[in-house]
């Protein structure tokens, strides 16, 4: 033990994750080389955006030790109410950005409501999310009685088809779409808050030991508020991204995506019990889920076999991660 020791860059857990990602990518590529084509790689990134934004929001709450399964509902409700609002005001071009902002704000409010129940009344996050999720989901619908989405402005509809970067390749046009910017912004935001602000460190502290966090003097309501607020905001924005592509109010698909978001976070190394989880690891998790979701068909696995593979990978990584954690932390007796 040396005080002056330099930081050692061990092949830590995140390294294993990155390695696993490339190994799986490599296996896919061996079976079908087009996996490595630029078109495909860009497509993976594009498709990971939606789930990525959700996962970033989920992650910050998971670190506090609470699971939240109402992301989908928050997303749908916030985005939906934004659209209704816009319809009332009349559409305007360029209002696309504002729509994201409003959806984000509405989502943040929902998130804060969840956070209130968790912090003030001590109710476990899962239960709050299950209950409030139903409420968010249906309240708006009942009040407005609408079940479909009016046609969105051009800019929004083309969210996933507007490219910010295009490359012509032999296999076609490879492009990174606009949605990636939103994903990148989400990653940057969460990374900044968690790593560069005291509130973020406080969120880690909260996940590590709630009582100690209070003793050290953190403003606990602020910590919960930030975590749940960001979660809600990102959920709202993800909801907006969802409506860019869909006209039905509700869809089981978004619930599936929420499940995948949880999977991505778990694979990315978020451990609720101890308040562990890095943004880098979760991004790898998101990309991995994206890879598997979109490329299984390329290696000949039919779409209906996808979930099994995803489920298997998740279960194994949960087991390995927790096992590893127990082993390491148990060493210091």
């Amino acid at each position: 033990m040396n005080t002056q020791a330099k930081k050692t860059w061990r092949l830590g857990d995140d390294g294993v994750r990155v390695g696993a990602f490339f190994v799986i990518l490599g296996i896919f590529a061996l079976i079908n080389p087009t996996v490595l084509s630029l078109v495909n790689l860009f497509a993976i990134v594009n498709n990971a955006c939606f789930i990525g934004v959700m996962t970033m929001g989920l992650m910050i709450v998971m670190i506090t030790g609470n699971l939240d399964l109402s992301l989908a509902s928050i997303g749908l409700t916030s985005a939906f109410s934004t659209i209704m609002l816009y319809q009332a005001w009349g559409w305007e071009e360029g209002g696309m950005y504002l729509m994201f902002v409003i959806a984000g704000a509405a989502g943040a409010v929902c998130g804060l409501i969840n956070g209130f129940f968790v912090y003030k009344l001590g109710i476990p996050g899962i239960i709050v999310s299950l209950g409030m999720g139903q409420v968010y989901n249906t309240l708006l619908l009942i009040l407005t009685g609408v079940t479909y989405i009016p046609v969105l402005p051009e800019g929004m509809r083309r969210l996933n088809r507007t490219f910010i970067l295009q490359v012509e390749t032999a296999l076609g046009t490879a492009g990174i779409c606009f949605a990636v910017l939103i994903f990148a912004a989400a990653v940057l935001l969460v990374w900044f808050v968690l790593n560069k602000t005291m509130v973020g460190r406080g969120i880690y502290a909260l996940g590590g030991d709630k009582v100690a966090a209070a003793r050290v003097g953190f403003n606990i309501p602020l910590l919960y508020g930030t975590a749940y607020g960001i979660m809600g905001m990102l959920a709202g924005m993800a909801g907006m991204m969802f409506y860019a592509n869909n006209t039905l109010f509700q869809s089981d698909w978004i619930l599936v995506e929420q499940g995948n978001a949880t999977a991505a976070a778990i694979f990315g190394g978020v451990i609720m019990k101890n308040g562990k989880g890095t943004v880098g690891g979760v991004v790898v998790g998101i990309l991995l889920i994206g890879l598997i979701q979109n490329n299984l068909y390329l290696i000949g696995i039919p779409s209906y076999a996808q979930k099994v593979v995803v489920g298997f990978i998740i279960l194994t990584s949960v087991a390995m991660a927790s096992f590893n954690q127990l082993r390491e932390w148990g060493k210091s007796r």
């Binding site: 602000t197 996940g207 590590g208 966090a213 003097g217």
Partner: protein
Amino acid sequence: MGFTGDGEELNEFYLEARGIKKSFGGILALREVSLRIRPGEAHCLVGENGCGKSTLIKVISGVYAPDEGRIVIDGNPFKKLSPSESMALGVQVIYQDFSLFGNLTVSENIAMAYNVSSGFKFSNKKRDLELARGILDEINVQLNPFTEVAKISVAQRQIVAICRALLQNAKLVIMDEPTTALTTKEIDSLFRIIDGLKKKNVALLFVSHKLDEVFEVSEYVNIMRNGTNVMEGPTSEFDRSKMIYHMTGREIAEKSHALEIDRNTPILRVKGLSRKNEFKNVSFEAYRGEVLGITGLLGSGRTPLAETLFGIVRKTDGEMYLNGRRLELRNAGDAVRAGIGYVPEDRLTQGLFLNVSIYRNIAATILSMYSNKFSFMNKRKISAAVRQQAKGLAIKAASLEAPASSLSGGNQQRVVLAKWLAAQPKLLIFNCPTVGVDVGSKSEIHEIIASFARQGIGVVVISDDLPEILSLCNRVLVMNVGEITGEYQAGDIDETFLQGQLVKV
């Protein structure tokens, strides 16, 4: 009160508490306590378990508000003190669980409290590192600042907690039983750090009942008994027996109950039992009709030994024989099936199901015993066994359906005893059986334990309560740094001698 040249009044004491009174729900925990600590003084609060030391600490750090009394810190008087106020004035408490964040690094943990109280909005790893390295160097300790706190040892965590307190400009560091989980070598390190603190004029208040540490480290002693301080003064004015006398209020421990001891057949025989890093080469025998005591400071290996005998943790070497039959315990279930019971030290988390009825608590160990091969329980037999034990041990409760949490400490311990008796054990191991039990119940429980021995059940009592050991046991084994270092007949020795044996290396 001293005066400087310019007529400014100097406080002789950094912290002064006067006439403190505190009760919890009708039970008086502190009555008329006073405490005066000088700057840079190593002040020790001594007393037996339950005398009120921890409560007093909580009062002066602001966790509890006293019912009566006054506290003056650094010249500021308080009737009601809050934790943040006391912290702001330089009172830093190091809790027994250290309140650290296992998922964060050493340097971040050290700097955390400082960062929060300084109101920083942004986190700066470089700043944390500098602060951490700085304070570690100041107290001359080597610790890798990048390690996750969950991965370091207990002693190292304590150092992190101390560093964190120091960074907060602590003027008084309060430690509650600081050497509880440390090995002898680590204790030496801690003492050196404490010396360093004294040089920086940081006062130290520590609570202890280990006399050797008290003599080694403290300059001033404050002896508490039954919620008040009975005696105080510079450490140099005390010797062991004087201190013991004031702590316990009695001269000599009572002698044990007369028992018929059958030395022909040991109920328990242990040979060369070892568990890596905890204890090694432990060999002894416990006979029918005898109460065998094992004592030692915490860290001597006595609790790991108890837990190994009960199968909670596994041995790494050695043999165990129960009534002549060799035992290989893979888990506690094996031990219970073999007929061993364990009354644990931590009654609330290890011994009882607090929100569950007394009935079900007592029945908890005999579920398998009274179940058929389809795992259906024979409720009538269980009921009979439970009621028999409840009656036999005179558990005072309105109904067996009441939750265990509604009972007093003494009655709760009876429930634990009942639970094990119901399992018809051949050997019972007790770990600190009367901790947190009121004085009246204490002797009753001792009589119950002695009666077990009379009934022919093997009894091994592990305790750090020396009077208890001497009055209850026939024979005493002393453990030190993981080995048995002495064996004595209880009738041949007295408390002072035993206390001395505990630290002889």
